[in-house]
Symmetry: C2
Subunit: 881 residues, 2 copies
Amino acid sequence: MAGQYIYQFAQGDKTMKSLLGGKGANLAEMARIGLPVPPGFIITTEACNQYLSRGEGLWPELKAEILENLRLLEQQTGRSFGGREPLLMSVRSGAVISMPGMMDTILNLGLMPKTVKHLAQEMGERRFTLDCYRRFIQMFANVVLKVSHHLFENILTEARNRKKVRSDAELEQADLEQIVDGFLAVVRQETGAEFPNDPQEQLFLAVESVFKSWNTNRAVIYRQANRIPDNLGTAVNIQAMVFGNLGEDSGTGVAFTRNPSTGEPRLYGEYLVNAQGEDVVAGIRTPHPLIELKDDMPAIYKQFAEICMTLELHYREMQDIEFTIEKSKLYILQTRTGKRTTLAAIRIAVDMVKEGLISKTEALQRIEPNQLEQLLHWRIDPDAERIVIGRGLPASPGAASGKVVFDADKTQGMAQNGEKVLLVRPETTPDDIHGIIAAQGILTSRGGMTSHAAVVARGMGKPCVCGCEELKIDMTKGCFYVKDSLYPEGEVLSIDGSTGQIILGQAPLIEPHFTAEFHELLGWADEIRRLKVRANADNPEDARRAVEMGAQGIGLCRTEHMFMAAERVPVVQKMIIASTLEEREEALTKLLPMQQGDFKGIFKEMAGKPVTIRLLDPPLHEFLPNREELLLEVDRLRRERGDAEQLRNQEILLQKVQSLTEFNPMLGHRGCRLGLVYPEIYRMQIRAIFMAIFELLQEGMPADQLQPEIMIPLVGHREEMELMKQLVDTTAEEIFAEQEGQILYLVGTMIELPRACLVADQLAGAASFFSIGTNDLTQTTLGYSRDDSESKFLPFYLQKKILKVNPFAEIDREGVGRLIEIAIEKGRLANSSLKVGVCGEHGGDPASINFFHTVGLDYVSCSPYRLPIARLAAARATLSV
Amino acid sequence: MAGQYIYQFAQGDKTMKSLLGGKGANLAEMARIGLPVPPGFIITTEACNQYLSRGEGLWPELKAEILENLRLLEQQTGRSFGGREPLLMSVRSGAVISMPGMMDTILNLGLMPKTVKHLAQEMGERRFTLDCYRRFIQMFANVVLKVSHHLFENILTEARNRKKVRSDAELEQADLEQIVDGFLAVVRQETGAEFPNDPQEQLFLAVESVFKSWNTNRAVIYRQANRIPDNLGTAVNIQAMVFGNLGEDSGTGVAFTRNPSTGEPRLYGEYLVNAQGEDVVAGIRTPHPLIELKDDMPAIYKQFAEICMTLELHYREMQDIEFTIEKSKLYILQTRTGKRTTLAAIRIAVDMVKEGLISKTEALQRIEPNQLEQLLHWRIDPDAERIVIGRGLPASPGAASGKVVFDADKTQGMAQNGEKVLLVRPETTPDDIHGIIAAQGILTSRGGMTSHAAVVARGMGKPCVCGCEELKIDMTKGCFYVKDSLYPEGEVLSIDGSTGQIILGQAPLIEPHFTAEFHELLGWADEIRRLKVRANADNPEDARRAVEMGAQGIGLCRTEHMFMAAERVPVVQKMIIASTLEEREEALTKLLPMQQGDFKGIFKEMAGKPVTIRLLDPPLHEFLPNREELLLEVDRLRRERGDAEQLRNQEILLQKVQSLTEFNPMLGHRGCRLGLVYPEIYRMQIRAIFMAIFELLQEGMPADQLQPEIMIPLVGHREEMELMKQLVDTTAEEIFAEQEGQILYLVGTMIELPRACLVADQLAGAASFFSIGTNDLTQTTLGYSRDDSESKFLPFYLQKKILKVNPFAEIDREGVGRLIEIAIEKGRLANSSLKVGVCGEHGGDPASINFFHTVGLDYVSCSPYRLPIARLAAARATLSV
């Protein structure tokens, strides 16, 4: 029970945050290094915890300690609490971790009729003193005595009406006398007692009130939401009041030691003469740029600028500083780390390294990798107003605006005429691919994060919002509904693919921004990271972008995306519908040169870097038209008894679509299961890879610049891996014989099934590398269909905290992560030279990257746009261990 | 190279199978115990392996050893090889593991012009001798000299045509002389050399030929298919010929020591006078029942019956014995374990225990659990001819016949008129339930082993073949196609739900058969097994059947099946379509008494035994109509502009169906994910369980007879388990307060997701039991959709041996099994009293049960029909360790 519960500012420092709270520790630190801080003291968080656990109010020892410190404060200020030259105080909460607005503050404590009189005399300003008094009564009554706010507001409103003025500032001294009486009467009526006139009693009540505010509902909920422990408690900061509104030689302001928007290393801020902090907030008067203080009060400005520099140097961090000037005397009320944009954060971190203020690793630790996101895509100006009319799944990041069009052909036509178009569809199919290419962005009412629209858009780096179930499209009437509102086709919408928002009208967009500092910071990240970083890229353009963004290879080239190009879809469909091997091989022969061309372009871009190419993975029906639309069409054709041949063709197509339809395509006939049943498809792809390489060799590219890695998807059994490896090897041998040459290549597998992890040792014999497909591994391990769960139960699970994070965004360490550990351990035991990477979307998630670093992966692979995030996260992972 | 390569019969015994082959060891054994076996010797499997690895023909030492044994044989028989009173021999292969028909046999070896003459003189029967000679030439030429069989057949056919006779037996001596000449000419022409006339050369060539036959293509393939090692080699049995066709005092026959159809303990067999074994096989003459031999040759019969008894006692197993009588002398040519029906196997095993011949555990080891299958269901008489017109998935075992009907109402109507009907549909929905109940069996063209039809049929123990893609139904024309044949509705078909066969017409059916011996044997199984055996049962009738079949509890009561009863479906659909909580609760209130009634009936049947009830598991759309049919109907209603209200209702229904439709329902919104989002549904079910119990208590049932175990499906996270446990507990407390009573109950979970296994320790805190759902765990661990894979790639995988067994039939030990081990280990570590069972269909599979025993499960649960299999398998598991 005994012990020190109170610290004078001089006794504390910035390291004592857990005892003194964030604000208190910084006040103490500033006092310690000699800055002009209004004197005061801090009641510790320990005292708060004691108070809460005892549940018996303030105990005598604590009260005595408060009073003792009060005496010291009186000595320091030369004023007396409740006496002549009355000492007024602020009583503020101060949690260890900032909980803005969650807990209580009381200003001007110490006022009562007698001190009001003395202070008015001292100041020669009774109106000012009365204004302080009525504010104090209202604040104290509300916070401590729980008297409802609106009772006081009623009285103020009445007074303004009576005087026919609009603001409280226009009320005169006499009005304020009346208001004070009215306020005191309200307190009497509501509490059945007089407003406490004893300053000591005021103080004790205020301290208790701050303690109790730790456990208010809103504070508890805030802590739950922000995962702040409940046992930290709050400190109480008690400080002498200073006033910036005592005339033209007084003022108040806020400053950042560097520009929080751009990071420019220059003092930035604003101030108001003859004003208190709340006036700045209220927005009645427009504050002046800080630089003008240089002219208004040159000495003060010089002193303040020096203090700012001192604080920044001291904290080795950009500071956000509040100050008040009371009758030409400068006081610093608060300093804290300044919030800033990502752009500014990067500039500041890089500048500070150059200024010798911080080390490179400190710079890296100051930028949260996910912060970079906002620099990497077009985005909607966060300061602009937006009319959000609906919301879907954030399927592909970035923002876009354009006229709504329901049809891919029309989209292409309008785009060719220079119009900006959003392609809006129930869902997309390969038939829409030219529309997707031409559109600014894609919006669908059905389908999840792995729907056709989402996958294709992400591959193209094009914004996409999908699965917006509130959106209903009426093609026949040429209009669409969002919730209950009707809009015509052609309406301009904006979509935000990072949040899923659908916005009415043309939203102002901000373009991606890569500064020199951005590149410099990432360079430092590259110096220290152990994880290599590759990109998921399916075509030469993506590959080029990936290299620009720092990719050290391609970790996942999805060959099926090459099948989705508009001119290829008919050939692909022919291949699928083929009823004989000959027909199929004929179609494959047509596809071969197309794939070969793709591979050639990619290998060229990736010279000297490994390229992992995954053989065909998705179920074949994904390349065919939508089953239900086809069903309705066949039904119509049958009824209308028109073109018999067209009917027959569509019937054959429908039959094929139906025979390929699966109840659970995610667990169906895909991956190497296709390669085993239709080896001719894989053989064509393997041939296309090697032929592309021979072409490049003939064009003079050195052999060591070509590093193909052929990846077999969805392997679960040793036999699958061995047979597929054999297929690659024999096909390679055939081509080598034809071409009279040799090429070095690796064969490996995706690890995306729980079984694959459990028998990784059996797979590692035939596989030279594992690429962990965390998307599918998450789906199977958790039994979540990503397409379904993200629009169905997952939001509910996240909202109810059944899941702490979305397992498709951040790796599920206990389940999926455990399987990954097993796979790595077993795989490396069987094959010590096994290369292990990850190519699911978790490869671009910082928290997941940290895990991948810890378990010893060799590389992560992510979309080109997320490479900077991955590079930074990989670097930070080496620092966090 | 040195060593003994040949054993005289007297030197071997039955334990030497690996050296002497199966046949040789038994011949030696019989000789050893003094039975009349034609004398001979055995060249060992070691000699064969030597021969094959040397690749240089017979080596001198081996030849010398053969000749030495030949001398002994001449002494034993008093005949000479190639001399007067010529010794003829049979040369037969004899593998360690029987490979019937796979390798070579040569009879009558030793014949050539000289010995033919001598033998004819000796026998006084030149025609008989010539017949032996031509057979020998043909056999030797074909087997040893690789002369094509048909060249000899041509000569025989020609001779028959010339003589205008139908069988070779009708050919006369002169014809045979001519035929022998013709045969020798063929050999000369085909091989360019004379047929070898030196008996020694014949013998050496024959022995080499038997050795080589180990590596013929067909033998290699047979070994692969039956997983017989390639390095065993074959022995060669060389034995003096005996002849049953030397007159009325000769004969041949086959006998079983007990009846192989019924197990009746009486000699059973047949014989022919004046005949060789091949005459019996050829079927030209009808053999006589063995009992008649008693009259024909009383002494021989007596001697033979005694030998049979000796052999059975000696081998302690029912024997299948071949014998020949040569001029009133009995020879035993072969004895082996007799094949028998399951019915006979059980009777024999039980009888032998009673006779003191074998122990109970031996009896159990003699019955393969899966053999019982044929006793447990109606089946198609295996001896009857069947015209198989198609094949689907064997979805629910048993056989049924009836008229094909496409419509559930019509099925019900016809069944009420006493007609036997097969319900044949593209797929079934809950709307068809009355048709399923009324039908003899179900046949569908779409859907897999977990389709609605399959699940419902298995639950009812009704035969079902589903996913028969060759079947096309044309409702409008009232006909159906199988492959390219058209059949009218009303055609009689039979289906075999155990094989998936679809058979034209009314197949003869055999009813299930439970004998006293069957129950006695299972009683012995119950004495020694450690694993408890429970049943999957969803209604009182199934529960009663389960108890009859020996269930020690219900391991899985699927509450959704209760939702599928015809009169409940509309209420269930109302519950699902409900747009407000109130509407939903109204429907649930109607369902409550129905479920309560079900539970009451089940608890009554299961008095004193635990009942595990799984709360609602499948996605809700499974209770709604088929989406595509609804789509077409709405399209039609819109076009026809008829009944506006009907259109509106169907539109609302379609909208709901669409909003509930999932891309991968197996991984979708089901299991406890439903219980968390719609707790009111689970609350109703929990209430129904407890209210049923209170009803029974009030009716006087003792409390300890009621052992409810409430099971939460599809749990993957600790939070899910804890919240669901909480829901059960709070609901229980509510009811206990209302009813002023207490009931003991357990709450546990299905373990059916890989994640659940990996975090089993976290779940075992709130769970009192785990029930491993191996069906879903297999789907997720392997990434196989059961509905899809069984009709798509799985047959291919099995055929190509990528998978050795169907993982949905036999547990995948390396993947799924490993996860189960992890779950048990982690679960028991966290909760030492944790009860762990299995309730997937693997719970009825003997190989899987063996695994479950090994890893220490407490119980398995399977369909009532498979309980006898499970009981026997669980007993055998204790013996196999």
